[in-house]
Symmetry: C2
Subunit: 213 residues, 2 copies
Amino acid sequence: MASEAERVAAADESFEGVSPDAARRLLLGAVEAFAERGFHATTTRDIAGRAGMSPAALYIHYKTKEELLFQISKVGHERSVSVLAEAAEAGGSDAERLARAVRAFVRWHAEHHTTGRVVQYELAALGAEHYEEIVALRRRSEEILRGVLESGDASGEFEIADIRGTTLAVMSLCIDVARWYSPSGRRTPDEIGTLYADLVLRMVAPQGDARVP
Amino acid sequence: MASEAERVAAADESFEGVSPDAARRLLLGAVEAFAERGFHATTTRDIAGRAGMSPAALYIHYKTKEELLFQISKVGHERSVSVLAEAAEAGGSDAERLARAVRAFVRWHAEHHTTGRVVQYELAALGAEHYEEIVALRRRSEEILRGVLESGDASGEFEIADIRGTTLAVMSLCIDVARWYSPSGRRTPDEIGTLYADLVLRMVAPQGDARVP
DNA sequence: GTCTATAACAGGATAGAC
DNA sequence: GTCTATCCTGTTATAGAC
């Protein structure tokens, strides 16, 4: 259904490293299909078709449909974690680090909303061991964000009543972008990122003390 | 798999009005199953089994599996919209209305996370007409929330740069609770609601003006 | 209204030719 | 490595007895 232009836009450079070419095309087809219909509603025939192959050719590169999902989840999570880590670890004040981290993480989820949707909403379809591996990656991103919040709270730059809860809320806000974002919507990924960074800074900014009595 | 206690906890009073009894039991079984495995991964055998019936009995009460999903989505959305509307329309300052609305909406998504997950993440499995009907309900909740933000922004009680964007962010924050909430987690639905109401008030609170120069 | 049995078919995965 | 053909399992939905 997607036009060639949309296909190219959706074609995720995250998977550029994957070779051989056929395996990469299958991965891209699977991301597209899983995002549109969900894992269980997607047939291996559909995936193979999008990659321009017969159903059987899929099994040369991947043992099962689930393995395809696992590869997508793994690469997707690794990418988003590294985007977040890079933004959070660059220098500046804690507010600058937080704003940069939120903006980058949101942008990733908007720009790669196709992958993002698969990665976030099809976790339950993974096998037990694969699931554990992915959960570990997810914990990493939570820890990175919590680190920034803790640092800012300790220095007094932020004022946070419940650090774990606020971390969860911020993660949740960023991640959910993948669910509702549409390239045909009003806002660019960068605009959403900027707006969200501002909202998050407000969430953690010191309150009353600085006000006139 | 769920213990009887969990089944009862998950058994959603939202569906109390549904009759006959068999139809209600099927609906409850379907909510449970869809939330655990997703719509497409759920078999009619499973749903019927949870309701203590044979697969065939399902078709006396519902024409298709999709109709079951539609009923769940409809009742679920109607409930969450009415919870939100009630909280937003009660009296008080705009800040009070906003805090009450967020708290109630979040609580609903935590307490009914089973239904919430189905309602939020299986939209794509609905047929075209059913989909339109549900989307209309979703717009209602967005409008209710936006109304409160606009009112507070106009009166100066809030200070919001981008009302549509902020509405979207707040909705997203509340809704995503259904994805990650677990009854075995650290926080009660009410605690999460209270925390989130506080975070949202901070998002919209007037900034600089009130501070010491 | 509910059951047992079954029709009708779609999906994941494999065998073997090229 | 890829294709065509196919196996086998499990699915939705219906028919007909109780």
